[in-house]
Symmetry: D2
Subunit: 421 residues, 4 copies
Amino acid sequence: MATQANSVPHPTLIQVDPFIPADQQKGIHNRWHPEIPPFATVKPGEVFKIECVDWTGAQIGNNDNSDDVKNVDLTKIHNLSGPIAVEGAEPGDCLVVDILDVTPFEKMPWGYTGIFELNNGGGLFAREFDSKAAKAIWDFHGIYATSRHIPGVRFAGVSHPGLIGTAPSAELLATWNKREGELIAAHPNAVPPVAFPPEPIGAYVGQDIAPDVMKRIADQGARTVPGREHGGNCDIKNLSRGSRCYFPVFVKGANFSVGDLHFSQGDGEMSFCGAIEMAGIITFSTSVIKGGIEKFALKQPIFLPSPVDPLYSSKVIFEGISVDYHGDGKQYNMDASVAYKQAALNAIEYLKKVGYTREQAYLLLSAAPVESHVGALVDSPNACVTMAIPTGIFTHDILPKPEGLTKHDFGQCAIRSDGVV
Amino acid sequence: MATQANSVPHPTLIQVDPFIPADQQKGIHNRWHPEIPPFATVKPGEVFKIECVDWTGAQIGNNDNSDDVKNVDLTKIHNLSGPIAVEGAEPGDCLVVDILDVTPFEKMPWGYTGIFELNNGGGLFAREFDSKAAKAIWDFHGIYATSRHIPGVRFAGVSHPGLIGTAPSAELLATWNKREGELIAAHPNAVPPVAFPPEPIGAYVGQDIAPDVMKRIADQGARTVPGREHGGNCDIKNLSRGSRCYFPVFVKGANFSVGDLHFSQGDGEMSFCGAIEMAGIITFSTSVIKGGIEKFALKQPIFLPSPVDPLYSSKVIFEGISVDYHGDGKQYNMDASVAYKQAALNAIEYLKKVGYTREQAYLLLSAAPVESHVGALVDSPNACVTMAIPTGIFTHDILPKPEGLTKHDFGQCAIRSDGVV
Amino acid sequence: MATQANSVPHPTLIQVDPFIPADQQKGIHNRWHPEIPPFATVKPGEVFKIECVDWTGAQIGNNDNSDDVKNVDLTKIHNLSGPIAVEGAEPGDCLVVDILDVTPFEKMPWGYTGIFELNNGGGLFAREFDSKAAKAIWDFHGIYATSRHIPGVRFAGVSHPGLIGTAPSAELLATWNKREGELIAAHPNAVPPVAFPPEPIGAYVGQDIAPDVMKRIADQGARTVPGREHGGNCDIKNLSRGSRCYFPVFVKGANFSVGDLHFSQGDGEMSFCGAIEMAGIITFSTSVIKGGIEKFALKQPIFLPSPVDPLYSSKVIFEGISVDYHGDGKQYNMDASVAYKQAALNAIEYLKKVGYTREQAYLLLSAAPVESHVGALVDSPNACVTMAIPTGIFTHDILPKPEGLTKHDFGQCAIRSDGVV
Amino acid sequence: MATQANSVPHPTLIQVDPFIPADQQKGIHNRWHPEIPPFATVKPGEVFKIECVDWTGAQIGNNDNSDDVKNVDLTKIHNLSGPIAVEGAEPGDCLVVDILDVTPFEKMPWGYTGIFELNNGGGLFAREFDSKAAKAIWDFHGIYATSRHIPGVRFAGVSHPGLIGTAPSAELLATWNKREGELIAAHPNAVPPVAFPPEPIGAYVGQDIAPDVMKRIADQGARTVPGREHGGNCDIKNLSRGSRCYFPVFVKGANFSVGDLHFSQGDGEMSFCGAIEMAGIITFSTSVIKGGIEKFALKQPIFLPSPVDPLYSSKVIFEGISVDYHGDGKQYNMDASVAYKQAALNAIEYLKKVGYTREQAYLLLSAAPVESHVGALVDSPNACVTMAIPTGIFTHDILPKPEGLTKHDFGQCAIRSDGVV
């Protein structure tokens, strides 16, 4: 018969508390550096679990104003659980990582999406909107999320780690710091900044470690904001539960880390804290392909998508080109980022016709399973990008009709306690 | 019983011959201008057909070298069938266009994908590859395409018009010419050029028209290369048969035109002549939504996708970030176009491991139903873009395996008769 | 350049006129018999087209009453185009048939769905409804169908041949006639009949043929109504354009035939003439796998589905069990046919709440891309079957709502001129 | 910040231990009867969890022989957690149940599929195969299952409750017992039995209850094997996490119960214990639609499918007709159950060519996300049913190839310790 003896749960290799600041917990680090020692080691084929705090380390609360978003401490972000070493992995190999499941903590069935202040984090439209802090709290009901701050929507999560990557070698780290340093040097006063140099303040590794090593990590460690050749903060929504990822290995053991779990995200994650951020548990197994970097010409990870990503066949699709027709009308030269922004702004204006505020629309498009495709990148001077909103995530009808769109009163999302938006 | 009398075919409003140069045919124009008179007029609700030559107007042949691509005359491109006026449409309205079907001519069951020369047309990697003319001829077998120049693949077409749009008003046209002229002025010697100013040489309208009007059209008419607020050459692969599109109307009758039919295309259409270009027939019906620009906040068309776009659930997905790690390693600032290019180059290198030449891979990724998503645009400084290759389009296995990839000999695509690639 | 010389259309091997009775045309037969000689022969790999009349051979008209359905001559049905011999195919081989495209004739852009009289053809609910003739004419608009007789719906066709099969060997034919004869003998007076014995009246082969051979074909030839081991009238909606089918070969050349083209059909095709019946053109290519019957354990065809079958992700799904709770309440023993009927009746009753008449609902569920799954066949005594109606085929909302369903006035389908339903 | 105080987990209303026999636990019953009192009561809109033992109540172990299956006690099966009353629900209403998630217990990451003995449970092919007990243990790795007893496959679960239903009224219960009693009377000596009459032995309700009420429940309570008008053991695989179900309400409070959780199942669940049976946790929310039975013409539940059911687009599809050509060749009259069996036997023979034993193939087709459609039910005398095996669930290639199928050695599933199969 079924017994406890013949029922062996998968081990949890890193345990965290989602309600305790991340820098007070073991197994959490927030910089990329080859000298961060592995916190745990696994054998290829083993199934195991890793717990993660949310990306801010419990700084954001389940409440109805956005003051916590306004004041978030961004030196303590992108808390990563790890590193995990895989036996047998060596530089030049390919580390295969199966993302077997991604779930919130049972004791914390909620997450959040935030618009950050122009001067503290920003976001895609930080300047255009002169962004003030705002947020939506999402309640998790099994596979679905709903928000009291964005009524009228309910969607299935395409749950994934926003951030997952292998440790860089010393050489790769040096390359990162050099190229990003040069970009910063070229844009010294940008707001928000164009990139983030190593920053000793707020650096931690979640382990007891020799002070000189810790100092090197703090002084040189790459910040976690951008995705890079090792993976990192790519925020690819389809790197979801059920997907298989092939990472290049740069150090012995591969030493991969994971964090920034998302219950859901739209392509682009436009509001910066745009996914439904959550604390939770990720289930993995791994294997190693010897010499895989050469075998697959790996310069950056490749992956196979999951068969259980949500399927919504009916969509309203918006187009955008590389002309800032929502702003000063400037013609850009084949710039897909500008085109994405126009498509997004077209979608926001449409959702405003349905009754959502600009802030609600911005949050919703960031968090829902919105799809953005590169249409064409060869029709000079206009790149073309599309953004598709699934109609099935709404509990009301958003299809274009001869009589126009029905405007509802959906209130407003959580805003600052001083009422400024 | 069924009789000819009770079986009324849908009328064909513009008839063309795909084997005759476009400038010798009626109903074909190649500039955007408000004064081009409608060639035909339809009532809302009517189903009708429009025939189109291929975008070059029969310049490319079904043969095994690329000399025709090398010498293509780009002043005579983007041949558009139209304009079609819709009764009742007025500026401010929304023109609903149902793209009911898109098929090749029965007498011309083939199309082509081309890599253009750096100095004559270019393409996404024109400079990186110092592009020489190359091409693949595709044979159409019902819903499928195969190519003797790219063995080992067979895929269902996501057939669509690369180019469809309403006529601009005089004001809109002036805006286009002004902003694109400023871009050209800022990059006077770019190769390929950053944009294309009005060009009287090669302009035609496919109708008898007063010389002074023709002169204005030729002198002022916007070139057809980029997509713009009215639609135009957006090259969105999912604007496919079965989709419904909502265009802003800028002139009385809407006066929409269509051309550049594609049997298939990948997101990005990277090699410029990257779709499977074909001559063929498109079936439409239309309706008008009064005041639709205001009702839907239309700055550019929106559309509903087709239920019959090809579905390939298994994919290999490549990532790219805004660092030119395939080139000089330069760090760009949140540039999705650069990120797309890295994802594409990762895919090309992978396909080379499978046995395709760089030219074959470039053509294949341009033409097959490849999907490119914007992953994230908020993780400074690195935009992240993905490119997904469906595995089901190959007749061999391209999945990453522990033993590596099996390299086949797939020969080479059609190249110049002087053998230069 | 593109020329007629380098553009070779696929040949049409059988040409028919959809407006002429089938028995007056060449290349059409309506019995299965090994001695019907091939009408055309193809080489493996060749792409070719076959034209088909509609299954009744032009008996049904595009008009607004159902008298033609009432009086249809069922001895002249299932007109098959063929046989087509494939070079190299021998008994024991597997014939691979690619169904590359299925389209209506351009000159006949319409089809029909019929409810047949209890005493002339029947249908799944012939007895329950005491069926009187009714029909819906469907207009084809590119990939879509709509009907003036069933307002409020529009759907993409999953176009396929209702009937396709290889010629039986003499032994196989004898097996069919024996087993079906025994069934008939066991139910001598059934209305509608349980099966159809060979019937010389109305038999034709569309070729000049020796009288003694013709007599054997007429006397022994299997009727076309049921699907059998060779394929035949399986009415599988997913054997659609883009699918690949593997047939067992029973005679030299395989000698396959095709007919009964459907623009669309729901799983079950419940009203008998339940698909959208059309005349049209089918595009094929073939290959032969030597010894394929043994290699694949083929007792009946297998197939690979098309990537372009319509995708409607939102559905309302009905359940049924093997209890006739819509009738006399009888408990059946694990009978999936009864369960299917209950699911269908549940769906019909639901659609009546939305405003469709019973006849419209019956026709619609027969013709639209409705999916019926076998839920479970092991929970004695109740088989469970589901029927899924895609919501995206309606232009109005049919989802269950707290306030109930909105009832529209959709009139009635085409009925008999005497008004009897 | 995030705190335990602002993070309220969803309550678990019924807690069970999957390692303790079901009849020793609270909140578990195994008969349908209107007098079983609700074990818990919920308000509409509340999200809550229910724990379930596996359908046998821990009788099957995680080991490598099938003796436990051989000796299973079928009087103690279909352990249901419940009933759950919903405030406000009354006879005539519709109970809306959102199945928000279905997961195994973390401490029991495995399940099983069994072939039951001909004389103890049976299954679809119990007689044809003279079934001996066999089983496969499945290990759960996040969303995937694999089995050491069926190597070479790995698939995503379409997790669902095999059994969910509202309590019958006294009248409905009487109807069930009458009609099933009549069937039993008509087939008195069937092996396996055609149906199961009320059986006091083994009946339990998981609550303290007055002896006279318990006696009525035990004497009259309907057995749980078949699905019926209230839902029940329908074993519909798409009633999965993310689906929404509309049940008719027959008693005050609706009093619904749930059990028989499946990690995965194929359409038909052919081996009887054919799903991947598991113990686990199901998350619900509910609402009530007043008068819903009338509003939706509910004779049996309807449901909306989940957006996250696994998507495998590539399939090999088998056909079957209502002729027992795998057995004695008998011609049946439009019997979809016979047609399903032929399709299944065709699939089993195919999988044997790939290297699986008959038992492995039988178990695999029962448990994997296999799809079975009713092709057509109107082509007398042959019903046609299809069975589709997704190719993406295999780690090897099962597509038909010119060279035939590659036969592997996959060993055998778990069989009886006496070695009899």
